[in-house]
Symmetry: C2
Subunit: 297 residues, 2 copies
Protein backbone atom coordinates (compact mmCIF):
# COMPACT_ATOMS: atom_id res chain seq x y z
CA UNK A 1 0.00 0.00 0.00
CA UNK A 2 3.01 2.23 0.57
CA UNK A 3 3.56 2.62 -3.18
CA UNK A 4 -0.13 3.31 -3.75
CA UNK A 5 -0.16 6.05 -1.10
CA UNK A 6 2.99 7.63 -2.45
CA UNK A 7 1.59 7.63 -5.98
CA UNK A 8 -1.69 9.12 -4.83
CA UNK A 9 0.08 11.93 -2.96
CA UNK A 10 2.16 12.71 -6.06
CA UNK A 11 -0.91 12.91 -8.28
CA UNK A 12 -2.65 15.01 -5.64
CA UNK A 13 0.26 17.46 -5.72
CA UNK A 14 -0.18 17.83 -9.49
CA UNK A 15 -3.91 18.41 -9.24
CA UNK A 16 -3.65 20.85 -6.37
CA UNK A 17 -0.99 22.92 -8.14
CA UNK A 18 -3.24 23.10 -11.20
CA UNK A 19 -6.23 24.21 -9.14
CA UNK A 20 -4.22 26.90 -7.33
CA UNK A 21 -2.62 28.19 -10.55
CA UNK A 22 -6.04 28.45 -12.20
CA UNK A 23 -7.41 30.32 -9.22
CA UNK A 24 -4.41 32.63 -8.98
CA UNK A 25 -4.44 33.43 -12.67
CA UNK A 26 -1.02 35.08 -12.64
CA UNK A 27 1.85 32.78 -11.73
CA UNK A 28 2.80 29.14 -12.12
CA UNK A 29 4.58 26.76 -9.77
CA UNK A 30 8.31 26.18 -10.21
CA UNK A 31 9.58 22.73 -9.32
CA UNK A 32 12.72 21.62 -7.52
CA UNK A 33 13.38 17.88 -7.35
CA UNK A 34 15.67 16.85 -4.52
CA UNK A 35 17.19 13.72 -3.02
CA UNK A 36 17.36 12.99 0.70
CA UNK A 37 20.85 12.19 1.98
CA UNK A 38 19.71 8.74 3.09
CA UNK A 39 17.00 7.54 0.75
CA UNK A 40 14.15 9.06 -1.21
CA UNK A 41 13.52 12.71 -1.82
CA UNK A 42 10.86 15.09 -2.96
CA UNK A 43 9.37 17.55 -5.39
CA UNK A 44 9.02 21.07 -4.03
CA UNK A 45 6.72 23.35 -5.98
CA UNK A 46 6.78 27.04 -5.24
CA UNK A 47 4.58 29.83 -6.52
CA UNK A 48 5.76 33.43 -6.16
CA UNK A 49 4.35 36.85 -6.99
CA UNK A 50 1.08 35.64 -8.41
CA UNK A 51 -2.03 37.77 -8.70
CA UNK A 52 -3.29 36.53 -5.32
CA UNK A 53 -0.53 34.33 -3.93
CA UNK A 54 2.59 36.19 -2.93
CA UNK A 55 4.46 33.06 -1.85
CA UNK A 56 3.32 29.50 -1.45
CA UNK A 57 4.53 25.94 -1.60
CA UNK A 58 3.02 22.56 -2.39
CA UNK A 59 5.65 20.01 -1.41
CA UNK A 60 5.63 16.31 -1.95
CA UNK A 61 8.21 14.09 -0.27
CA UNK A 62 8.85 10.40 0.32
CA UNK A 63 11.83 9.75 2.52
CA UNK A 64 13.17 6.80 4.44
CA UNK A 65 16.08 6.66 6.79
CA UNK A 66 17.14 6.48 10.39
CA UNK A 67 15.75 8.94 12.86
CA UNK A 68 18.11 10.63 15.30
CA UNK A 69 17.60 8.99 18.75
CA UNK A 70 15.89 12.13 20.09
CA UNK A 71 13.33 12.18 17.28
CA UNK A 72 12.66 8.43 17.59
CA UNK A 73 12.14 8.82 21.34
CA UNK A 74 9.80 11.80 20.80
CA UNK A 75 7.69 9.62 18.49
CA UNK A 76 7.79 6.72 21.01
CA UNK A 77 9.26 4.46 18.36
CA UNK A 78 10.86 1.13 19.15
CA UNK A 79 13.66 1.63 16.65
CA UNK A 80 15.05 4.37 14.45
CA UNK A 81 14.03 3.23 10.98
CA UNK A 82 11.22 5.16 9.31
CA UNK A 83 9.45 5.87 6.03
CA UNK A 84 7.44 9.06 5.61
CA UNK A 85 5.54 10.44 2.66
CA UNK A 86 3.24 13.40 2.43
CA UNK A 87 2.16 16.64 0.86
CA UNK A 88 2.56 19.91 2.71
CA UNK A 89 0.99 23.19 1.66
CA UNK A 90 1.30 26.77 2.90
CA UNK A 91 -0.06 29.81 1.05
CA UNK A 92 0.76 33.45 1.82
CA UNK A 93 -1.45 35.80 -0.21
CA UNK A 94 -0.48 39.41 -0.94
CA UNK A 95 -3.69 40.84 0.45
CA UNK A 96 -4.32 41.04 4.20
CA UNK A 97 -7.94 40.33 3.30
CA UNK A 98 -7.08 36.81 2.10
CA UNK A 99 -6.17 34.36 4.89
CA UNK A 100 -2.96 32.39 5.09
CA UNK A 101 -3.66 28.69 4.91
CA UNK A 102 -1.89 25.43 5.58
CA UNK A 103 -2.71 21.82 4.85
CA UNK A 104 -0.80 18.63 5.21
CA UNK A 105 -1.45 14.94 4.64
CA UNK A 106 1.12 12.35 5.55
CA UNK A 107 1.74 8.63 5.98
CA UNK A 108 4.37 7.24 8.32
CA UNK A 109 5.82 3.77 8.79
CA UNK A 110 8.04 2.83 11.69
CA UNK A 111 10.64 0.07 11.57
CA UNK A 112 8.46 -2.43 13.43
CA UNK A 113 5.59 -2.31 10.94
CA UNK A 114 3.54 0.31 12.76
CA UNK A 115 1.87 2.61 10.23
CA UNK A 116 -0.32 5.65 10.52
CA UNK A 117 -1.77 8.67 8.75
CA UNK A 118 -1.74 12.26 9.91
CA UNK A 119 -2.78 15.57 8.52
CA UNK A 120 -4.78 18.71 8.91
CA UNK A 121 -6.01 21.95 7.44
CA UNK A 122 -6.05 25.29 9.22
CA UNK A 123 -6.87 28.87 8.31
CA UNK A 124 -5.07 31.99 9.53
CA UNK A 125 -7.02 35.11 8.63
CA UNK A 126 -5.31 38.46 9.14
CA UNK A 127 -8.82 39.79 9.78
CA UNK A 128 -11.29 37.18 11.00
CA UNK A 129 -14.51 37.08 8.95
CA UNK A 130 -16.81 35.06 11.21
CA UNK A 131 -19.15 33.91 8.44
CA UNK A 132 -16.16 32.66 6.48
CA UNK A 133 -14.65 30.91 9.52
CA UNK A 134 -18.01 29.21 10.08
CA UNK A 135 -18.29 28.11 6.43
CA UNK A 136 -14.70 26.82 6.55
CA UNK A 137 -15.42 24.68 9.61
CA UNK A 138 -18.72 23.47 8.18
CA UNK A 139 -16.94 22.25 5.06
CA UNK A 140 -14.39 20.37 7.17
CA UNK A 141 -17.18 18.88 9.27
CA UNK A 142 -18.88 17.54 6.15
CA UNK A 143 -15.68 15.74 5.14
CA UNK A 144 -15.20 14.34 8.64
CA UNK A 145 -18.84 13.30 9.15
CA UNK A 146 -18.78 11.30 5.91
CA UNK A 147 -16.25 8.98 7.61
CA UNK A 148 -17.03 9.13 11.30
CA UNK A 149 -19.15 11.56 13.32
CA UNK A 150 -16.59 11.53 16.12
CA UNK A 151 -13.87 12.89 13.79
CA UNK A 152 -14.83 16.55 13.51
CA UNK A 153 -15.20 17.33 17.23
CA UNK A 154 -12.05 15.37 18.04
CA UNK A 155 -9.89 16.74 15.23
CA UNK A 156 -11.20 20.29 15.67
CA UNK A 157 -10.09 20.26 19.34
CA UNK A 158 -6.82 18.71 18.29
CA UNK A 159 -6.25 21.63 15.88
CA UNK A 160 -7.10 24.15 18.63
CA UNK A 161 -4.43 22.58 20.79
CA UNK A 162 -1.87 22.03 18.05
CA UNK A 163 -2.06 25.42 16.32
CA UNK A 164 -1.51 27.25 19.59
CA UNK A 165 1.29 29.64 20.54
CA UNK A 166 1.74 29.24 24.32
CA UNK A 167 4.06 32.24 24.72
CA UNK A 168 1.41 34.44 23.08
CA UNK A 169 -1.60 32.65 24.55
CA UNK A 170 -3.10 32.82 21.08
CA UNK A 171 -4.18 30.29 18.50
CA UNK A 172 -2.47 30.70 15.12
CA UNK A 173 -5.78 31.46 13.44
CA UNK A 174 -9.33 30.11 13.49
CA UNK A 175 -8.10 26.52 13.54
CA UNK A 176 -9.48 23.72 11.44
CA UNK A 177 -8.76 20.03 11.88
CA UNK A 178 -5.61 18.19 12.91
CA UNK A 179 -5.02 14.47 13.41
CA UNK A 180 -2.05 12.20 13.83
CA UNK A 181 -1.23 8.53 14.37
CA UNK A 182 -4.46 7.31 12.80
CA UNK A 183 -3.63 3.61 12.84
CA UNK A 184 -5.65 0.58 11.94
CA UNK A 185 -8.14 -0.45 14.65
CA UNK A 186 -10.59 -3.35 15.04
CA UNK A 187 -13.30 -1.22 13.40
CA UNK A 188 -11.28 0.97 11.03
CA UNK A 189 -8.95 -0.48 8.41
CA UNK A 190 -5.85 1.34 7.23
CA UNK A 191 -7.65 1.71 3.87
CA UNK A 192 -10.52 3.48 5.64
CA UNK A 193 -7.92 5.84 7.12
CA UNK A 194 -6.45 6.40 3.66
CA UNK A 195 -9.88 7.16 2.21
CA UNK A 196 -10.47 9.74 4.93
CA UNK A 197 -7.09 11.37 4.31
CA UNK A 198 -7.82 11.51 0.56
CA UNK A 199 -11.10 13.30 1.23
CA UNK A 200 -9.37 15.80 3.52
CA UNK A 201 -6.78 16.48 0.82
CA UNK A 202 -9.42 16.86 -1.89
CA UNK A 203 -11.45 19.28 0.23
CA UNK A 204 -8.63 21.77 0.43
CA UNK A 205 -8.71 23.32 -3.07
CA UNK A 206 -12.49 24.02 -3.21
CA UNK A 207 -12.56 25.37 0.36
CA UNK A 208 -9.56 27.66 -0.03
CA UNK A 209 -10.20 28.87 -3.58
CA UNK A 210 -13.73 29.84 -2.53
CA UNK A 211 -12.29 32.04 0.23
CA UNK A 212 -9.77 33.51 -2.21
CA UNK A 213 -12.47 34.34 -4.71
CA UNK A 214 -14.72 35.90 -2.08
CA UNK A 215 -11.93 38.18 -0.79
CA UNK A 216 -9.47 38.79 -3.61
CA UNK A 217 -11.04 42.05 -4.76
CA UNK A 218 -11.47 43.60 -1.32
CA UNK A 219 -9.49 46.82 -0.96
CA UNK A 220 -6.98 47.37 1.83
CA UNK A 221 -4.75 50.14 3.09
CA UNK A 222 -1.19 50.49 4.35
CA UNK A 223 -2.17 50.11 8.03
CA UNK A 224 -3.88 46.82 7.20
CA UNK A 225 -0.75 45.70 5.37
CA UNK A 226 1.31 46.51 8.50
CA UNK A 227 -1.06 44.40 10.59
CA UNK A 228 -0.57 41.57 8.12
CA UNK A 229 3.23 41.78 8.62
CA UNK A 230 2.75 41.53 12.40
CA UNK A 231 0.43 38.54 12.09
CA UNK A 232 2.92 36.92 9.73
CA UNK A 233 5.47 37.43 12.52
CA UNK A 234 3.28 35.27 14.75
CA UNK A 235 3.11 32.71 11.96
CA UNK A 236 6.92 32.61 11.96
CA UNK A 237 6.94 32.21 15.74
CA UNK A 238 4.54 29.29 15.62
CA UNK A 239 6.39 27.53 12.81
CA UNK A 240 9.86 27.93 14.28
CA UNK A 241 9.09 27.57 18.00
CA UNK A 242 6.03 25.35 18.23
CA UNK A 243 5.44 23.35 15.06
CA UNK A 244 6.49 19.74 15.57
CA UNK A 245 6.50 19.11 11.82
CA UNK A 246 9.09 21.84 11.23
CA UNK A 247 11.18 20.59 14.15
CA UNK A 248 10.99 17.00 12.86
CA UNK A 249 12.05 18.11 9.39
CA UNK A 250 15.01 20.17 10.59
CA UNK A 251 16.18 17.51 13.06
CA UNK A 252 16.05 14.71 10.48
CA UNK A 253 18.14 16.72 8.01
CA UNK A 254 15.23 17.41 5.73
CA UNK A 255 15.70 19.89 2.90
CA UNK A 256 15.75 23.25 4.69
CA UNK A 257 14.38 25.31 1.79
CA UNK A 258 11.41 22.96 1.42
CA UNK A 259 10.66 22.92 5.15
CA UNK A 260 10.96 26.68 5.53
CA UNK A 261 8.92 27.53 2.42
CA UNK A 262 6.21 27.90 5.07
CA UNK A 263 7.73 31.20 6.21
CA UNK A 264 6.14 34.38 4.85
CA UNK A 265 7.78 36.65 2.25
CA UNK A 266 8.02 39.44 4.84
CA UNK A 267 7.17 39.70 8.52
CA UNK A 268 7.62 42.30 11.21
CA UNK A 269 7.89 42.64 14.96
CA UNK A 270 7.02 45.78 16.93
CA UNK A 271 7.83 45.71 20.63
CA UNK A 272 4.69 45.33 22.76
CA UNK A 273 2.31 46.25 19.94
CA UNK A 274 -1.22 46.98 21.18
CA UNK A 275 -4.30 47.10 19.00
CA UNK A 276 -6.72 50.02 19.33
CA UNK A 277 -9.80 49.29 21.41
CA UNK A 278 -12.75 48.01 19.36
CA UNK A 279 -10.69 48.06 16.17
CA UNK A 280 -10.98 45.24 13.60
CA UNK A 281 -7.50 44.16 14.75
CA UNK A 282 -8.66 43.90 18.39
CA UNK A 283 -11.74 41.98 17.27
CA UNK A 284 -9.57 39.53 15.35
CA UNK A 285 -7.49 38.85 18.46
CA UNK A 286 -10.65 37.95 20.37
CA UNK A 287 -11.23 35.11 17.92
CA UNK A 288 -7.74 33.66 18.30
CA UNK A 289 -8.81 31.40 21.15
CA UNK A 290 -9.29 27.70 21.69
CA UNK A 291 -12.75 26.26 22.04
CA UNK A 292 -14.79 28.49 19.74
CA UNK A 293 -17.56 26.36 18.23
CA UNK A 294 -17.44 27.84 14.74
CA UNK A 295 -20.07 25.52 13.30
CA UNK A 296 -22.60 26.75 15.88
CA UNK A 297 -21.30 30.35 15.83
CA UNK B 1 27.08 38.57 46.62
CA UNK B 2 23.80 37.96 44.83
CA UNK B 3 22.54 41.42 45.76
CA UNK B 4 25.83 43.00 44.69
CA UNK B 5 25.68 41.31 41.28
CA UNK B 6 22.08 42.29 40.76
CA UNK B 7 22.82 45.91 41.70
CA UNK B 8 25.83 46.02 39.38
CA UNK B 9 23.80 44.67 36.45
CA UNK B 10 21.14 47.30 37.07
CA UNK B 11 23.66 50.14 37.11
CA UNK B 12 25.29 48.66 34.00
CA UNK B 13 21.92 48.77 32.23
CA UNK B 14 21.64 52.49 33.04
CA UNK B 15 25.12 53.27 31.80
CA UNK B 16 24.81 51.23 28.63
CA UNK B 17 21.50 52.86 27.72
CA UNK B 18 23.10 56.28 28.18
CA UNK B 19 26.06 55.37 25.99
CA UNK B 20 23.81 53.99 23.22
CA UNK B 21 21.47 56.99 23.33
CA UNK B 22 24.40 59.38 23.07
CA UNK B 23 25.80 57.45 20.13
CA UNK B 24 22.43 57.21 18.38
CA UNK B 25 21.66 60.89 18.84
CA UNK B 26 18.02 60.55 17.86
CA UNK B 27 15.94 58.38 20.17
CA UNK B 28 15.78 57.47 23.84
CA UNK B 29 15.00 54.22 25.60
CA UNK B 30 11.47 53.62 26.89
CA UNK B 31 11.18 51.52 30.03
CA UNK B 32 8.71 48.80 30.99
CA UNK B 33 8.95 47.44 34.52
CA UNK B 34 7.46 43.97 34.94
CA UNK B 35 6.97 41.35 37.62
CA UNK B 36 7.57 37.66 37.12
CA UNK B 37 4.62 35.44 38.03
CA UNK B 38 6.66 33.67 40.71
CA UNK B 39 9.16 36.12 42.15
CA UNK B 40 11.24 39.03 40.88
CA UNK B 41 10.92 40.79 37.58
CA UNK B 42 12.74 43.13 35.29
CA UNK B 43 13.23 46.43 33.54
CA UNK B 44 12.97 46.23 29.75
CA UNK B 45 14.35 49.23 27.88
CA UNK B 46 13.57 49.56 24.21
CA UNK B 47 14.84 52.06 21.67
CA UNK B 48 12.94 52.49 18.39
CA UNK B 49 13.38 54.57 15.25
CA UNK B 50 16.57 56.29 16.30
CA UNK B 51 19.03 57.87 13.89
CA UNK B 52 21.07 54.66 13.74
CA UNK B 53 19.15 52.12 15.80
CA UNK B 54 15.89 51.00 14.24
CA UNK B 55 15.00 48.69 17.12
CA UNK B 56 16.97 47.57 20.14
CA UNK B 57 16.59 46.39 23.69
CA UNK B 58 18.67 46.51 26.85
CA UNK B 59 16.88 44.26 29.32
CA UNK B 60 17.64 43.72 32.97
CA UNK B 61 15.95 40.94 34.91
CA UNK B 62 16.27 39.20 38.26
CA UNK B 63 13.90 36.28 38.63
CA UNK B 64 13.61 33.36 41.00
CA UNK B 65 11.24 30.47 40.84
CA UNK B 66 10.84 26.82 40.01
CA UNK B 67 12.02 25.51 36.69
CA UNK B 68 9.79 23.17 34.70
CA UNK B 69 11.24 19.63 35.04
CA UNK B 70 12.36 19.65 31.41
CA UNK B 71 14.36 22.88 31.85
CA UNK B 72 15.91 21.67 35.12
CA UNK B 73 16.94 18.42 33.46
CA UNK B 74 18.41 20.30 30.49
CA UNK B 75 20.56 22.31 32.91
CA UNK B 76 21.55 19.13 34.82
CA UNK B 77 20.21 20.63 38.02
CA UNK B 78 19.56 18.57 41.13
CA UNK B 79 16.34 20.40 41.94
CA UNK B 80 14.02 22.90 40.31
CA UNK B 81 14.67 26.05 42.32
CA UNK B 82 16.67 28.80 40.62
CA UNK B 83 17.67 32.45 40.73
CA UNK B 84 18.80 34.20 37.55
CA UNK B 85 19.82 37.78 36.93
CA UNK B 86 21.33 39.37 33.87
CA UNK B 87 21.37 41.99 31.17
CA UNK B 88 20.54 41.11 27.58
CA UNK B 89 21.14 43.37 24.62
CA UNK B 90 20.24 43.17 20.92
CA UNK B 91 20.54 46.06 18.46
CA UNK B 92 19.06 46.20 14.96
CA UNK B 93 20.31 49.25 13.05
CA UNK B 94 18.44 50.77 10.09
CA UNK B 95 21.43 50.59 7.80
CA UNK B 96 22.61 47.31 6.28
CA UNK B 97 26.09 48.78 6.64
CA UNK B 98 25.87 48.70 10.46
CA UNK B 99 26.02 45.19 11.97
CA UNK B 100 23.41 43.70 14.27
CA UNK B 101 24.89 42.98 17.67
CA UNK B 102 24.04 41.01 20.77
CA UNK B 103 25.53 40.85 24.25
CA UNK B 104 24.46 39.18 27.42
CA UNK B 105 25.84 38.81 30.93
CA UNK B 106 24.10 36.63 33.46
CA UNK B 107 24.43 35.04 36.88
CA UNK B 108 22.59 31.86 37.86
CA UNK B 109 22.09 30.11 41.19
CA UNK B 110 20.64 26.65 41.48
CA UNK B 111 18.75 25.36 44.51
CA UNK B 112 21.69 23.43 45.88
CA UNK B 113 24.03 26.44 46.13
CA UNK B 114 25.69 25.96 42.75
CA UNK B 115 26.37 29.34 41.16
CA UNK B 116 27.83 30.44 37.86
CA UNK B 117 28.23 33.26 35.39
CA UNK B 118 27.59 33.20 31.68
CA UNK B 119 27.61 35.67 28.86
CA UNK B 120 28.90 36.66 25.50
CA UNK B 121 29.09 39.22 22.73
CA UNK B 122 28.67 38.55 19.04
CA UNK B 123 28.50 40.59 15.87
CA UNK B 124 26.24 39.93 12.84
CA UNK B 125 27.28 42.10 9.92
CA UNK B 126 24.96 42.21 6.91
CA UNK B 127 28.15 42.78 4.89
CA UNK B 128 31.30 41.46 6.53
CA UNK B 129 34.07 44.07 6.78
CA UNK B 130 37.10 41.91 7.53
CA UNK B 131 39.15 44.70 9.13
CA UNK B 132 36.25 45.47 11.43
CA UNK B 133 35.70 41.82 12.32
CA UNK B 134 39.40 41.57 13.17
CA UNK B 135 39.31 44.71 15.34
CA UNK B 136 36.18 43.42 17.07
CA UNK B 137 37.84 40.12 17.95
CA UNK B 138 41.06 41.87 19.01
CA UNK B 139 39.11 44.02 21.45
CA UNK B 140 37.42 40.93 22.94
CA UNK B 141 40.80 39.18 23.19
CA UNK B 142 42.22 42.11 25.18
CA UNK B 143 39.39 41.81 27.71
CA UNK B 144 39.83 38.03 27.95
CA UNK B 145 43.65 38.09 28.16
CA UNK B 146 43.49 40.51 31.09
CA UNK B 147 41.88 37.71 33.10
CA UNK B 148 43.22 34.49 31.63
CA UNK B 149 45.02 33.78 28.37
CA UNK B 150 43.01 30.59 27.92
CA UNK B 151 39.73 32.52 27.83
CA UNK B 152 39.78 34.04 24.36
CA UNK B 153 40.56 30.88 22.37
CA UNK B 154 38.12 28.85 24.44
CA UNK B 155 35.28 31.37 24.42
CA UNK B 156 35.80 32.29 20.77
CA UNK B 157 35.35 28.60 19.79
CA UNK B 158 32.37 28.39 22.09
CA UNK B 159 30.78 31.33 20.25
CA UNK B 160 31.48 29.68 16.88
CA UNK B 161 29.62 26.61 18.06
CA UNK B 162 26.84 28.43 19.90
CA UNK B 163 25.97 31.05 17.27
CA UNK B 164 25.56 28.41 14.59
CA UNK B 165 22.49 27.56 12.51
CA UNK B 166 22.76 23.83 11.73
CA UNK B 167 19.93 23.78 9.19
CA UNK B 168 21.72 26.53 7.22
CA UNK B 169 25.26 25.35 7.93
CA UNK B 170 26.08 28.98 8.64
CA UNK B 171 27.26 30.89 11.67
CA UNK B 172 24.97 33.77 12.67
CA UNK B 173 27.71 36.30 11.97
CA UNK B 174 31.43 36.68 12.63
CA UNK B 175 31.06 35.32 16.16
CA UNK B 176 32.70 36.81 19.22
CA UNK B 177 32.88 35.17 22.62
CA UNK B 178 30.44 32.97 24.53
CA UNK B 179 30.82 31.31 27.92
CA UNK B 180 28.55 29.60 30.41
CA UNK B 181 28.67 27.86 33.77
CA UNK B 182 31.80 29.72 34.89
CA UNK B 183 31.83 28.43 38.46
CA UNK B 184 34.33 28.87 41.25
CA UNK B 185 37.40 26.62 40.92
CA UNK B 186 40.46 25.97 43.10
CA UNK B 187 42.31 28.74 41.20
CA UNK B 188 39.48 31.10 40.26
CA UNK B 189 37.15 32.60 42.85
CA UNK B 190 33.57 33.50 42.03
CA UNK B 191 34.65 37.14 42.52
CA UNK B 192 37.30 36.68 39.81
CA UNK B 193 34.52 35.37 37.56
CA UNK B 194 32.41 38.41 38.39
CA UNK B 195 35.29 40.75 37.59
CA UNK B 196 35.72 39.10 34.21
CA UNK B 197 32.02 39.37 33.44
CA UNK B 198 32.07 43.06 34.41
CA UNK B 199 34.91 43.71 31.97
CA UNK B 200 33.06 41.89 29.19
CA UNK B 201 29.98 44.00 29.85
CA UNK B 202 31.98 47.24 29.96
CA UNK B 203 33.74 46.43 26.68
CA UNK B 204 30.48 46.30 24.76
CA UNK B 205 29.63 50.01 24.42
CA UNK B 206 33.06 51.19 23.21
CA UNK B 207 33.44 48.28 20.79
CA UNK B 208 29.98 48.62 19.27
CA UNK B 209 29.72 52.41 19.18
CA UNK B 210 33.06 52.52 17.37
CA UNK B 211 31.65 50.25 14.66
CA UNK B 212 28.49 52.36 14.48
CA UNK B 213 30.48 55.55 14.08
CA UNK B 214 32.71 54.05 11.40
CA UNK B 215 29.73 52.87 9.33
CA UNK B 216 26.78 55.10 10.08
CA UNK B 217 27.33 57.45 7.16
CA UNK B 218 27.96 54.81 4.52
CA UNK B 219 25.40 54.94 1.75
CA UNK B 220 23.32 51.94 0.74
CA UNK B 221 20.76 51.05 -1.89
CA UNK B 222 17.47 49.16 -2.03
CA UNK B 223 19.11 45.85 -3.06
CA UNK B 224 21.37 46.06 0.01
CA UNK B 225 18.33 46.73 2.16
CA UNK B 226 16.68 43.58 0.71
CA UNK B 227 19.77 41.57 1.59
CA UNK B 228 19.53 42.96 5.14
CA UNK B 229 15.93 41.68 5.40
CA UNK B 230 17.06 38.21 4.31
CA UNK B 231 19.92 38.19 6.82
CA UNK B 232 17.51 39.34 9.51
CA UNK B 233 15.41 36.31 8.53
CA UNK B 234 18.36 34.11 9.46
CA UNK B 235 18.65 36.02 12.74
CA UNK B 236 15.01 35.12 13.45
CA UNK B 237 15.69 31.48 12.60
CA UNK B 238 18.65 31.32 14.97
CA UNK B 239 16.81 33.00 17.81
CA UNK B 240 13.63 30.95 17.53
CA UNK B 241 15.06 27.56 16.53
CA UNK B 242 18.54 27.41 18.05
CA UNK B 243 19.04 29.94 20.84
CA UNK B 244 18.94 28.18 24.21
CA UNK B 245 18.44 31.50 26.03
CA UNK B 246 15.25 32.23 24.10
CA UNK B 247 14.01 28.69 24.65
CA UNK B 248 14.79 28.91 28.38
CA UNK B 249 12.96 32.23 28.65
CA UNK B 250 9.85 31.02 26.82
CA UNK B 251 9.74 27.69 28.69
CA UNK B 252 10.06 29.32 32.11
CA UNK B 253 7.18 31.71 31.40
CA UNK B 254 9.45 34.70 31.03
CA UNK B 255 7.97 37.93 29.70
CA UNK B 256 7.47 37.21 26.00
CA UNK B 257 7.82 40.81 24.80
CA UNK B 258 11.16 41.16 26.62
CA UNK B 259 12.50 37.85 25.31
CA UNK B 260 11.41 38.51 21.73
CA UNK B 261 12.66 42.09 21.61
CA UNK B 262 15.64 40.36 19.97
CA UNK B 263 13.61 39.89 16.78
CA UNK B 264 14.19 42.42 13.99
CA UNK B 265 11.68 45.11 12.99
CA UNK B 266 11.24 43.43 9.58
CA UNK B 267 12.61 40.29 8.00
CA UNK B 268 12.02 38.42 4.79
CA UNK B 269 12.28 34.97 3.28
CA UNK B 270 12.73 34.22 -0.41
CA UNK B 271 12.58 30.57 -1.43
CA UNK B 272 16.03 29.20 -2.28
CA UNK B 273 17.65 32.63 -2.63
CA UNK B 274 21.06 32.49 -4.27
CA UNK B 275 23.66 35.25 -4.17
CA UNK B 276 25.36 36.34 -7.39
CA UNK B 277 28.82 34.91 -7.90
CA UNK B 278 31.61 37.12 -6.53
CA UNK B 279 29.09 39.62 -5.20
CA UNK B 280 29.58 41.26 -1.78
CA UNK B 281 26.69 39.09 -0.57
CA UNK B 282 28.46 35.90 -1.71
CA UNK B 283 31.67 37.10 -0.06
CA UNK B 284 29.82 37.69 3.20
CA UNK B 285 28.49 34.12 3.16
CA UNK B 286 32.05 32.80 2.86
CA UNK B 287 32.84 34.40 6.21
CA UNK B 288 29.89 32.84 8.01
CA UNK B 289 31.89 29.80 9.02
CA UNK B 290 33.26 28.34 12.21
CA UNK B 291 36.98 28.41 12.90
CA UNK B 292 38.06 31.64 11.21
CA UNK B 293 40.95 33.07 13.24
CA UNK B 294 39.92 36.72 13.02
CA UNK B 295 42.73 37.99 15.22
CA UNK B 296 45.31 36.51 12.83
CA UNK B 297 43.24 37.28 9.71
Amino acid sequence: MKAEIEAWFKAFQDNLCNALETCDGGATFKEDVWQHQESGGGRSRIIENGKVLEKGGVNFSAVSGSLPDKAAAALLLPDNHFFATGVSVVMHPHSPMVPITHMNVRYFEAGNGMAWFGGGIDLTPIYVDTAQAKAFHEALKVVCDKHNVTYYPEFKDWADNYFYIPHRQETRGVGGIFFDRLQETAEISIRDRFNFVKDVALAFAPVYTRIINENRDLSFNEAQKQWQYLRRGRYVEFNLVNDRGTKFGLETNGRTESILMSLPPQASWIYNFKTEENSPEATTLQYLKKGIDWVKA
